[in-house]
Amino acid sequence: MNTILIKGAAILGGDPADILVRDGVIAEIGDLAGTAAELTVDAAGLVALPGLVDLHTHLREPGREDAETVETGTQAAARGGYTAVHAMANTSPVADTAGVVEQVWRLGQEYGHCDVQPVGAVTSGLEGRRLAELGAMADSAARVRVFSDDGKCVSDAVLMRRALEYVKAFDGVVAQHAQEPRLTEGAQLNEGEVSGRLGLNGWPAVAEEAIIARDCLLAAHVGSRLHVCHVSTAGSVEILRWAKSKGWDVTAEVTPHHLLLTDSCAESSPVGPYNPIYKVNPPLRTEEDVRALREALADGTIDCVATDHAPHPVEDKETEWGVAAMGMIGLETALQVVQEAMVDTGLLDWAGVADRMSARPARIGRLAGHGLPIEAGAPANITLYDPSPRALVDPSAMASRSRNTPYEGMTLPGRVVATFLRGRPTVLEGKLV
């Protein structure tokens, strides 16, 4: 397919315009009536966004192909409007060598539903004892720039300092999973009113905030770049705001679920109390935290939305809360949740959404060819989104191999209609191509 004409799309929610794509590149934008193309897509009423970029995806391959594979995970990504995802390192084997990151990267190339940019582990085996071969991963075909022990915190202050310093040599960034381990031993749910009533071990906000504060200070001290994964508390937002006001090179992400759901879901929800579908790390917090996170994303204190898409097989969730796996899938609902939490509330316009879900995550991940404005000459990574429908979330219709969506039984606005990866449609009329 060499030419595609997208007709009447509202680019970033602006006035309708036609977009002509030729050989994977945006050729022309404007009133292109009468222009012939091999594929014409009627985009009347649709918002055109630059293809979304996820900084935080668990594709589970290698090791947990029962939960997700690179193929199914990238299909889910395409369905959600993503053209690139960062695959987290906590696979089995861990992505802590050039060999493993190259394997994941090649699988992404092979399936082609979206670009897969592997994340490398900070420490060997995620064990928090010694640095993984960060340089080898950076120099590999996968060109790793984001390093993270996600799922585990790099809690040793010296190791964290060294990692922050070391990755400067290749413009890398350490993405920290901020969780003080001693304060969260056996933790199950945000420590507060709900955990007290439910008798679930409390997961205090301070366990996240203390690490973020420490890491901001460390990053400033050694002049490095720090990225904070899945910020979940109002206190974390305050610390980040302070660090940014100092001019320190600190960025942060928030998940869609932390923008919408609270710990009260564990007590009452459409799927019953103590349903571990809501068990996630970091835990769902309070209304006050949700408000602070939304404001921080709106004012840029939090740079971007990252899904932390975490697929788990049914048997790991159909259990007692205490033994259930932590995490929820999110690629296929992220844009809808952001519309619900940020756009329909007036906190962000579509240009803001494009910035927080495409431009900034691409910049943080140093991902060339993604997150660029929709303009002539740019690679044609485009998502067409219809914000008007509102429908019940149907887990069985999802492309992900897993079904652990927390939105079952809820209605959400919007629908991804089409996704183009360098001019090649990966999704058309809401269906995988």
Binding site: E193, L198, L200, G202, N275, T319, W321
Partner: protein, 310 residues
């Protein structure tokens, strides 16, 4: 009412119905033949994932006195120890036709999950650090028998509130029934959000004791000491134990309770535990009666609690 999972779900009328039904059933216990035909042909499964002989035999005795068939399913030596999930166990019990499942489980919320997988009634016999509603009912029953009322009673609950399912259920139930609860514990053994609970909180046992009508001592597990909840057993005992001197400061009609098993010499001294104002042994007997009332109300439905002779 289909299940009994949380004391918080009981309305005042529900709770009083359980207590009044227990009073009626208690009269049967005085007969030479204690058995009633009420639940003949019904199956009650005791599904115990934690060792708790006293709670299990209490439920077993209650079910048997109502003529129910009782199946004891203990996690040890069963398929559970081979890694069978709670869901699969639930489906198995469902297939066997369990009319009620009494569950004791180490995970908070396990009875809620179970209730989504079985059609029969679920009775929570203690889940993790969440609730133990039949304990709260038997405690309320014991208080009412001794003191004649619950409305306006001042109840001090002393000890490891943070990890106590007994404390949670008692606070909820006693509040519903009009008693005034004060939780007494070192700050480390209280949930951070305890100020949102329908009760008072104090760190000072001596200040609370003179006004209390009921002092309920909770078991304190020694492993909490290793996790630095308090410095030593001796210091805990000195600050929060009910010893002879503190006992002497209670008013004359006040009673002492303990859900058992006790650590004599730790949270309660032997002479207090064995005094006539202690209801600790009575609580055990009342436990059977109250659990009979619960099973009857969940399963017996329309038949009168006390029909003809067995």
């Amino acid at each position: 009412m289909r299940h009994l999972i949380s004391a918080g779900e009981l309305s005042r009328d529900d709770a009083l119905l359980v207590l009044d039904t227990a009073e009626e059933l208690a009269r049967v216990s005085d007969r030479s033949i204690k058995k009633l035909p009420t639940l003949r042909g019904r199956t009650v499964v005791n599904l115990f994932y934690e060792d708790s002989t006293r709670t299990r035999i209490s439920f077993e005795a209650a079910a048997k006195r109502l003529s129910a068939d009782v199946i004891n399913f203990s996690a040890k030596g069963s398929s559970v120890s081979k890694g069978e999930s709670l869901k699969d166990t639930a489906l198995t019990l469902e297939a066997m036709g369990a009319d009620a499942v009494v569950i004791r489980h180490g995970a908070s919320g396990a009875p809620h999950r179970l209730a989504t997988w079985v059609r029969g009634s679920v009775v929570n016999a203690g889940d993790g650090t969440h609730e133990h509603p039949t304990q709260a009912l038997l405690d309320a029953y014991s208080m009412r028998r001794r003191l004649g009322r619950l409305e306006g009673l001042k109840v001090a609950v002393v000890g490891d509130v943070l990890h106590s399912r007994v404390a949670r259920s008692n606070v909820l139930l006693l509040h519903t029934l009009g008693a005034e609860v004060t939780l007494v514990a070192p700050p480390t053994l209280l949930p951070v959000s305890v100020e949102t609970w329908p009760c008072q909180v104090s760190y000072d046992l001596d200040a609370v004791l003179p006004k209390a009508d009921v002092v309920m001592m909770l078991r304190v597990q020694l492993e909490r000491m290793n996790a630095s909840y308090f410095p030593s057993a001796r210091e805990y005992s000195r600050r929060y134990g009910l010893d002879r001197d503190r006992f002497a400061r209670l008013h004359d009609d006040a009673i002492v309770m303990h859900p058992g098993p006790m650590n004599r010499g730790m949270e309660i001294s032997a002479e207090v535990a064995d005094s006539p104002r202690s209801t600790i042994v009575e609580q055990v007997g009342n436990g059977v009666t109250v659990r009979m009332a619960v099973l009857y109300l969940l399963l017996g439905g329309s038949e009168p609690a006390i029909g003809g002779t067995a």
